[in-house]
Amino acid sequence: MDKKLIVLYVIIGMSSLLIGCEKTSPSLPKDDEILDGPLEGLTYAENAQFLKGDVAFNDDVFTTATGLGPMFVATSCGSCHAGDGKGHPFTTLTRFGQINETGNQYLHQGGPQLQNRAVPGFQPEQIPAGATFSSFTPPANTGLGFLDAVTDADIMAMADPQDANGDGISGIPNWIKVPAYATLRPNSINNNGKYIARFGKKAAAYDLMQQTANAYNQDMGITSFYESKDTYSGQVVDPEISNQTVLDVVFYLKTLKAPIQRNQNDPDIISGKQLFINIGCETCHKQELKTGTSPIAALANQIFHPYTDLLLHDMGPGLDDGYTEGSAKTAEWRTPPLWGLGLSKNSQGGQCFLLHDGRARSIEQAILLHGGEAQNSNDRFNQLTESEKQKLIKFLESL
């Protein structure tokens, strides 16, 4: 064969293959199919900090050399929040030792969180005899910045401690003493030195800084300037992570996008949403909230759709584990945001582990396990036809 022809064939062949790179490479999932990714409108500098936080959250794995444990639950943030979604029984937390608003009586015995794993040569923690406990499935991280930016006034406007409107729903905030390192939000409401907390299953964490510093400390055994007590010795020790890394992770959590609803115009989903409102679910799972001011422009004064009121509600004896946090009672749980619910399976190994401890294996089962203030809605759900139930579930799966 002619030499020039061979060279030409090679050049054409390779060029074609290289041009085809884009077509043959794995494609980017649609934005509404995944939970991770930054919210729109971040500046270049904010994007850069988001990336730093992303690496710290998803790629940094702790070892004994970098401070892991010696008792711990997980070796990295990403272990518990795969794809920034909900957790799995493998990473479910156990907390113990508090039965009322007077505080945790087992702090001197390792409370509030059980570190159920230990590095080689050490033994994991055990729940002290007599301590009540509850299991917490790790929540999804998405849209947390929006929740963080809701004003106290807006939360208080949704509260109805005495059930003045007589609808059987009496949401109340969890009032806590904020840690010294927390920065109070503008116009925070002070209630005898306590403030409205909003993160966590019991809404016992004031902000994402407290949530993050606690998670490093209680989940991974990593001490920081913010939470400096070693969970094993109970002593204040040197920080095992830099302030900047904690701040980067907080920024990452604040700027993760909100989940995007799928198939909003599907008639079944529209009907399901109406049924969701009609049977009273929306009374607690508020579909629309708004943010106040924020130093992150993309988060300021935004309307969003989390399906939560960030308040505590009595969920009845069936969900009362006898353990609590802050000023919440043992049967009270913060309304969990429902956004991202339909993508839960993608972070839970293809299955559903819903409610605070993952006991519900389907959306329908989760609804049926609602009691207390939600019992009326549960009853109304049971009165729906099978077709109506499916529409309502289809709506929830679209979130």
Partner: protein, 410 residues
């Protein structure tokens, strides 16, 4: 330390080569390889092209690997990258009759990593009993012994061989090896005691049981991590017309169970078992080369299941020559098409919490077109696609893309 080693080796190499630069290059003699014998994977370390210089009693050689790649994971790409993966130098010498020395020094990713992969003296006590000492390559599987870039049609090394097994895995130690020829058959064995692994295999930033993590411990060339030798043994059989089958084992204590006379933990074992084979199908002249391995690690029960107690995985390369003819004046040109199938289960087991399967699986498939102007050089074009599932079994991360590379002995 690495920089000094690099400078010293470079200087020595340049001195020995440039010292003869004014001499007619025909004095550089390529050492004839003995092709009459059945060579096996265990022979790979010596079965390489070497150049000798006049009467200098040392022969030199080496190989180089460079490539371009464009990979994408779930729609996100790092774009184009050019990589200088390896530059490896060999030096070999027959010290005296039946005593020989060989060393292999590798510079990876520029000079990011510099490793003495092999530096051993062999004493032939008897054809069946050769004594070897120094830095040796533990004979687990086949790839660890037979890993030179120009021998393969793929830019990437097999994941199961380099990330589940720790190829290239070298340690200081001693051992014996030998071969027995019987007609068309050859039987071979190897057995070594060396320094070994350390705690990093279950305490690492890969967040999984990862034997190669112990390669970060450069002190293993100076002292054992725990004082217990790592045992590696291999038996292989080859038939001239059928191919080679190898069975190998590597095992020992990996953790520091004692220090200054104080007990820190119980002795915890790592055990590896591997099967390897290679063959050429008659008539079709299709080359098959594969390896499958199992890893067992005694992970403390109270530690996280993120780190697997058992792993398994392997690869199969299928290479089909499709054209043998002079191309662009390269008289012995061969064009090959090839495929590689790979699989690794990083964590074989079930979750304590709900008894469901722990995933953490890797699947890979690659295609290749390669042109070998000679047996010692290859220009290769690869397309790869792989799936990596996390420990929970969530939708896998998908990576795909193209690689173009060259590799040649020199």
């Amino acid at each position: 330390m690495n920089l000094r080693l690099f400078t010293f080796i470079s200087f020595t190499f340049l001195l020995t080569t440039s010292g003869f630069a004014q001499i007619d290059s025909s004095l550089l003699k390529r050492q004839a390889q003995d092709t009459s014998k059945l060579t096996m994977n265990m022979d790979a370390v010596y079965n390489r092209p070497f150049l000798s210089f006049g009467k200098l009693p040392i022969a030199f050689g080496g190989y180089v690997e460079a490539n371009y790649q464009h990979l994408t994971t779930d729609g996100i790409t790092e774009g184009s990258s050019f990589q200088m993966r390896r530059f490896t130098l060999f030096a070999a010498s027959t010290v005296m009759k039946r005593v020989k020395f060989l060393t292999e020094i590798e510079f990876e990713d520029g000079a990011k990593e510099i490793n003495i992969e092999f530096a051993a003296i062999d004493f032939e006590l008897n054809p069946l009993v050769n004594f070897r000492g120094g830095i040796i390559m533990n004979p687990i599987g086949s790839f660890n012994q037979n890993h030179d870039g120009p021998k393969w049609e793929f830019v990437d090394r097999p994941v199961s061989a380099t990330q589940m097994l720790p190829a290239t895995w070298s340690n200081v130690g001693f051992g014996v090896y030998g071969k027995k020829f019987t007609g068309d058959w050859v039987l071979a064995y190897e057995g070594y005691l060396t320094n070994g692994f350390d705690n990093q295999i279950i305490e690492n930033t890969k967040n999984k049981t990862f034997l190669p993590a112990s390669k970060l411990n450069q002190e293993r060339f100076e002292e054992s991590f725990n004082g217990v030798p790592l045992m590696t043994g291999k038996a292989a059989i080859r038939h001239k017309k059928v191919g080679e089958l190898g069975i190998s084992y590597m095992g020992g204590v990996y953790n520091k169970f004692e220090e200054d006379g104080l007990t820190l933990d119980k002795r915890r074992h790592v055990d590896v078992f591997a099967l390897d084979f290679n063959s050429v199908l008659p008539k079709l002249n299709t080359h098959l080369n594969g390896e499958f391995s199992w890893v067992w690690v005694d992970v403390p029960g109270s530690y996280t299941q993120q780190f697997g107690r058992k792993q398994k995985g392997g690869f199969l390369d299928i290479v089909q020559p499709v054209l043998r003819r002079p191309i662009l004046d390269f008289e012995k040109s061969v064009i090959n098409v090839a495929a590689r199938l790979e699989y690794v289960d990083w964590n074989v087991g079930r979750f304590n919490e709900n008894n469901q399967n722990i995933a953490d699986d890797y699947w890979g498939i690659s295609g290749a077109i390669s042109w070998r102007p000679s047996a010692q050089s290859v220009i290769r074009f690869n397309y790869l696609y792989n799936w990596q599932q996390d420990i929970l079994g969530n939708p896998p991360a998908k990576t795909g893309g193209f690689q173009f590379g060259i590799s040649s002995y020199f």
